[in-house]
């Protein structure tokens, strides 16, 4: 069981699934913070509107989605072969490919490379995968200073905060909060909150790092098996700077990022930019293949990270999770995320994709509350550019969690579990169902007020009546009315109440 950590409003959010509180608890600080909820809803509405506009102009959007999911399925079906092909091509082009089975191994590999380079500082292109393996704290503890170069990541790093979104990591921070962080950390007490001036402050801060730090770390949006290329898309150009000035580049990429062919980018880039930021094309799309003499980093490493991915690959039903291209359209569309923001998910991957990805990466040892953190409204599946049927996987993971939990003594007597077991017996025979209805009506009568409504219920029911009344049970069920009406048809007689 995951330990419940004391969590107050001012604490740094816990994005470690092993330590984070369960979702319903972790959501409370945000639900009680109207400013934060406003920041999140506003930011999401802006992205959503841009996305809707640009998706509408693509008449072949559904065909693109189908093509993208087919490409990813092909890559996943032959993942071993495509990864080996990538390794070969990348090596031929002058890169060094490393394989990391888990987070610890990936961190160790990266630190070893940095030690070899005698690097005590490193600049970073935005990479959620590095947050997944908790790279920054590890490097800092080993004496390597890390400098984020993505504007949002700078805000979070300086503000000692954590990402709440995978594309817009500082989505929950508003302009005046950014001003406060920059003023304090950059020593600029007179800084205004005008976006232009805030950006200029970040640029000044960054420029020094770009010119002085010779080692960089990146993630990858895609790896191309056919050519050995790595692809990064970004909005600000800081990634491009990291790919130009440093001597050494280390790319950390999940093994599911590989695409078979260069041409597959045609489909993927159209979908990614529109889904992620509501743009026809991302402002910067960088591709590099190994090392090019006299141009860009002269030493290049790729660390291919498994960290639970191959076990997801092994499951026929859940494999589609690995199609994800990290566009975040699902979290932008999600009515739950809209209320809670990202930190409540206790993982670097929030929202609907996080609710299915995190528990799987954790082999269901942690984050068991996440598959239940959804009303199953289906908005995520509708917008997903690679057609991941997130509700279906949520339900499947719920079954796995329930199978796990129902064997435990604590859950055996949990009111919800007792109720569902009882309901199953009741639903197996109509006469038992009808008896339960009568008993339920009598039981609920105790709680029903004169106006015919229930205002307060004990136990699990109390979670309903905290904000909602419940109409008292009507005197007559439908089937009683039907029976009294005396019109039971021939079909009804054939199917007596004992039908199974």
């Amino acid at each position: 069981m995951s330990a419940v950590v004391e969590h107050s409003l001012t604490d740094r959010p816990v994005l470690d699934p092993a330590l984070a509180p369960p979702f319903p608890v972790a959501a409370l600080p945000v639900l009680r913070n109207p400013q934060l909820r406003k920041n999140v809803a506003h930011a999401i509405d802006v992205i959503q509107a841009k996305r809707a506009h640009l998706v509408a102009e693509k008449t072949d959007w559904q065909e693109l989605r189908a093509a993208a999911s087919a490409i990813k399925d092909e890559a996943l079906a032959h993942l071993d072969a495509y990864l080996t092909q990538f390794e070969g091509r990348c090596t031929t082009a002058g890169g060094v490919v490393h394989w990391a089975a888990d987070a610890a191994e990936a961190r160790r590999i990266i630190l070893e490379i940095l030690r070899e380079e005698k690097a005590d500082e490193v600049i970073k292109i935005k990479t959620m995968t590095s947050a997944e393996i908790q790279l920054n704290p590890y490097l800092e503890a080993a004496g390597v200073r890390t400098y984020e170069t993505d504007l949002a990541e700078i805000i979070l790093q300086l503000g000692e905060d954590e990402p709440s979104h995978i594309v817009v990591p500082a989505l929950h921070v508003n302009r005046s909060q950014v001003r406060e962080i920059f003023a304090r950390k950059m020593g600029l007490p007179d800084l205004s909150d005008e976006p232009k001036l805030l950006t200029a402050a970040a640029r000044n801060y960054l420029r020094q790092k770009f010119l002085s730090v010779p080692t960089a770390i990146s993630g990858a949006n895609f790896l191309i098996a056919e050519t050995g290329a790595v692809v990064i898309v970004e909005s600000e150009g800081n990634g491009r700077m990291c790919l130009t000035l440093p001597r050494t580049m280390i790319t950390l990429a999940g093994i599911e990022k590989v695409l078979p062919r260069f041409q597959d980018l045609e489909v993927m880039l159209q979908l990614l930019a529109r889904s992620a930021t509501g743009e026809r094309m991302s402002p910067y799309t960088s591709l590099w293949t190994g090392v090019t003499p006299g141009d860009g980093p002269q030493k290049f490493h790729v660390v291919l990270l498994d960290n639970g991915r191959s076990s997801i690959l092994a499951s026929k039903k859940e494999r589609q999770t690995l199609r994800c291209i990290r566009c975040a359209a699902c979290m932008n569309a999600c009515p739950v995320y809209r209320q809670t923001g990202g930190h409540a998910y206790g993982s670097v991957y929030p929202g609907p994709i996080g609710a299915i990805l995190t528990p799987q990466l954790e082999h269901l040892r942690h984050a068991q509350s996440l598959p239940f953190a959804s009303s199953l409204c289906g908005a995520c599946y509708e917008v997903c550019p690679v057609k991941i049927n997130i509700p279906e996987i949520l339900i499947d993971l719920r079954a796995q969690v329930t199978d796990q939990e129902r064997k435990t003594v604590g859950k055996f007597f949990d009111p919800m579990y007792v109720g569902l077991r009882a309901a199953n017996v009741i639903f197996s025979r109509a006469w038992m169902f009808h008896a339960a209805q009568r008993m339920g009506r009598m039981g609920l009568k105790l709680f029903t007020r004169k106006d015919g409504w229930i205002h307060s219920l004990p136990s699990v029911g109390g979670k309903w009546t905290q904000t909602r009344d419940l109409r008292g049970l009507p005197k007559e069920t439908f089937h009683q009315w039907w029976k009294d009406r005396g019109q039971s048809s021939k079909g009804a007689r054939e199917h007596g109440s004992e039908a199974r």
Partner: protein
């Protein structure tokens, strides 16, 4: 035309007036309605809570009960979505070939109420009269699960006297989600508050839908807040006529 009504467990228990309205409506449209008293639940609650084995036995029970029905009409989008989207997976995993065949043969004859009216009977004007201002809430399962599209709106547009008030952010969930509403009660309540703002903003007298589950959620909050609006299942609006007005609960 003979239709077998699957009322669903919660409509039978909590919203019998919806069932009565479906019977009135279909009989007015010359459909012979039958009701099989052995029916209980489609298994959705168990399936969505992770009780797969239990969901399977209820699903099997439903298929065996209705396999010979000419048409099965269900006044609940989410139960129809359960049958269409989740039964195939359950039967694939836990069922046998015979059950899968029975299900495949039955599935095309399972209709959500608005589908049955518009697609099977080919009617949009059901001769209803409901002189009130109404807003329509598209439940997630109807909208994205069943792709009901504009069928509900077409039916409402033909109701005499009805003034339709468009609901902003129509595609946004009300936060019910079955056991989600209690397992994540605080998040669910926050979603409900946002939805309710849009719904009450229409200043309609009634909020209607094809799922009583969403309406129970919205209506429960309306009652708690003394809001000047009531919820009503669309079947009750469509059944309503000048001589026999809809049953509306105080």
């Amino acid at each position: 035309m003979r239709a077998s009504l699957f009322i669903t467990c919660y409509n039978d228990t909590l919203f019998p007036e919806t069932g009565r309205a479906v019977v009135t409506l279909l009989e007015r449209l010359s459909v012979e309605v039958e009701f099989r008293p052995g029916q209980t639940c489609c298994g959705q609650m168990h399936a969505n809570t992770g009780f797969r084995g239990e969901a399977f036995s209820q699903a099997r029970r439903l298929v065996r009960m209705y396999q010979d029905a000419e048409a099965v009409v269900i006044p609940s989008s989410s139960c129809v979505a359960m049958i269409r989207d989740q039964y195939p997976g359950l039967f694939e995993e836990l069922g046998n070939e015979e059950l899968r065949m029975q299900f495949a043969a039955m599935l095309p004859r399972v209709y959500e109420l608005s589908e049955f009216l518009v697609d099977k009977l080919g009617v949009e004007d059901v001769g209803a009269y409901f002189p009130h201002k109404v807003t329509y809430h598209a439940s997630c399962h109807g909208l994205r699960g069943l792709h009901l599209g504009d069928r509900p709106m077409r039916l409402l547009a033909k109701v005499r006297g009805l003034e339709l008030a468009p609901l902003p952010n129509l595609d946004r969930c009300c936060g019910f989600g079955g056991t989600f509403s209690v397992k994540n009660g605080d998040v669910s309540s926050a979603m409900l508050a946002v939805k309710l703002e849009d719904v009450l903003g229409t200043r309609a007298e009634f909020c209607t839908a094809l799922d009583n589950s969403c309406l129970m959620h919205l209506g429960g909050a309306m009652h708690r807040q003394f809001a000047p609006m009531k919820t009503i299942h669309m079947a009750q609006i469509l059944a309503s006529t000048q001589s026999q007005p809809a049953e509306v609960l105080a």
